[in-house]
Symmetry: C2
């Protein structure tokens, strides 16, 4: 491994000063004779010269890197979000440092530390909900923080991009109520998360609107990681008066829930109507095809990147932006009328 040529090597080989080479490197930063430019380019080519980003960033750290801090990427929802964010960023010449927290606030704190040291211009994150002080400090330092999917109410100064969680859970629940269900259950994310809380709120709204009785036993929160969704299902099925319909509002637990249902021999939609928050292509291939709530991941990604970078470019709007996009309820065949009581 021979060592890399530097700008001075190039300058020497081309018979010019480093200032000139730098100008060639940064078009528009100053005049360079066409002939000189050509010669310098040639030399760079033959020497295999590539300017070091680290050195360039020393002077004035340009917004060339963005931190993406997700819970984990094995979850297809986050994976697709990551994919879109990366594409969106690339299209603007920005690179993405991908980090994962595994829903662990200790890890989150560590990741944030390295992002600070890298002086990333912006951070797009699904916060665990803790580390308040770090987030606040980050924001005060001028880093553009954008929470996506979830948020932290205690930090109203941070930009947020989410789907309309309340409304999406409300409409899903309302659909079930419209089919005549009176015992509708919901499995959501942990109540410590805004998605968990908001979706339960929407669920309640729908029950109220449909004049249905609320039963807290029908509301189950499951952690994002692990297989808590399965246990929630079992608990629901063992209820004295079990539900006839179920909203799975925890994307990470959808397969765990379905697995347990299959195991228990529950037939969908005859014995249980189901709506899931998840739009994997697999949902359509199931028997029966599942009625789903589709989250517009591309919009989430687009707005996140936009916010994370717009502020960086000195927008400095007073108010924090809160962007709420609508999810889409797609009716397929996992919802039916409840069978009459025996």
């Amino acid at each position: 491994m021979q060592k890399q040529p530097t700008i001075r090597d190039v300058a020497a080989a081309a018979g010019v000063s480093v200032a000139v080479v730098s100008r060639v490197l940064n078009p528009g930063s100053g005049p360079v004779a066409a002939a000189t430019r050509g010669r310098v380019h040639e030399v760079m080519e033959t020497l295999g010269y590539h300017p070091r980003t680290a050195a360039r960033e020393l002077k004035h750290g340009p917004p060339t890197t963005l931190g993406l801090l997700l819970a984990d990427v094995s979850n297809p929802f986050f994976a697709r979000l990551a994919d879109q964010v990366v594409q969106e960023a690339h299209s603007r010449g920005i690179q993405v440092l991908l980090m994962t927290t595994q829903e662990d606030d200790q890890l989150e704190a560590e990741r944030l530390s390295t992002l600070i040291e890298r002086r990333v211009s912006g951070i797009i994150a699904t916060p665990t909900g803790n580390n308040l002080e770090i987030w606040k400090r980050l924001h005060d330092m001028g880093t553009d923080v954008v929470f996506v999917d979830r948020s932290i109410p205690a930090l109203p100064e941070v930009d947020v991009v989410t789907i309309n969680n309340t409304e999406s859970a409300r409409s899903a629940t309302a659909l079930l109520a419209a089919h005549g269900h009176r015992r509708i259950a919901i499995i959501s994310g942990p109540v410590s998360s805004t998605t968990g809380r908001d979706r339960i709120a929407g669920y309640r709204e729908a029950l109220v609107a449909a004049h249905l009785e609320q039963d807290d036993l029908l509301i189950r929160s499951a952690a994002f990681r692990g297989v808590a969704g399965g246990d929630a299902v079992t608990a629901l099925l063992n209820l004295e008066d079990p539900p006839t319909a179920l909203v799975v509002a925890n994307t990470a637990q959808v397969t765990a829930v379905l697995r347990r249902l299959a195991h228990a021999g529950v037939s969908i939609p005859e014995e249980l109507s189901v709506i899931v928050f998840e739009d994997s292509p697999w949902t359509e291939l199931m028997t029966p095809p599942l009625t789903i709530v589709r989250q517009p991941i591309d919009l989430l990604a687009m707005h996140s990147v936009q916010l994370a970078l717009s502020n960086a470019s000195g927008k400095a709007s007073g108010r924090p932006s809160v962007i709420r996009v609508d999810a889409e309820l797609i009716e397929r065949s996992s919802v039916a009328r409840p069978k009459p009581r025996t």
Copy 2:
């Protein structure tokens, strides 16, 4: 956005020289009195000081960043690979720059450029198959390149981590043959990819071993992106003598294939036995649960990171490493005996 404190600010505030602060920052790089260390730490805390990675890397670029160049991350296979790679890297204090090529060699070239400029210590990639010269140059420059999942035969000097593609396709095909199938089809990736080629080779081996006739009409290559898998299915079904069994060896096209089969009203496994290369939890939830080839993504990730970093730490082995891990054939219910000819 006030500007960040530098090491000199800390030094001044603590009443010491920058050299001392640097030593505090890098334990083991020199002696510092315990009292001094404490004072410096305090000052760093109150000033909210974080050393800039860019500046640190200027001196001797330490192997602190790794490039991960994948086709795309919306594909769950790559997503899980990314997740594992990131975790593996984090556990060693390494950050990951995630980039995607969308299977486009033009984009690949651009991404590689930025990785070179960042002086990443290693690159883990699923190469498109082109850009030979760039890969070669990268390798010659001393960057540790590791191809994962796929490889480029024309670049034998590069480390590779893959599953045993030939064997996995062979065993899947053999299982179908053992069930009495004589017309077995395969939908693989493009023949320009090593995975595509190797899996077809394994398929052929199995046919030979089972003394079955080979029919090139039963071999279909589909691009990774798009919905080419669907068209391949249609073509197979319209054959004069259609297959009774199918191996879907193109992970990215599995759902497209299944969708088309569902659309065509083909019942699995009665009319068509199916084995897919894919181990999403959804495969088990299908009706019937699908027989699959499971790729040990965690091993792929572990070995990739290990190789990408081991070389960096000056291992400098003469031979390139080729690590081939075994995939696992998991029998469920999508394979049955062919129904007798009518």
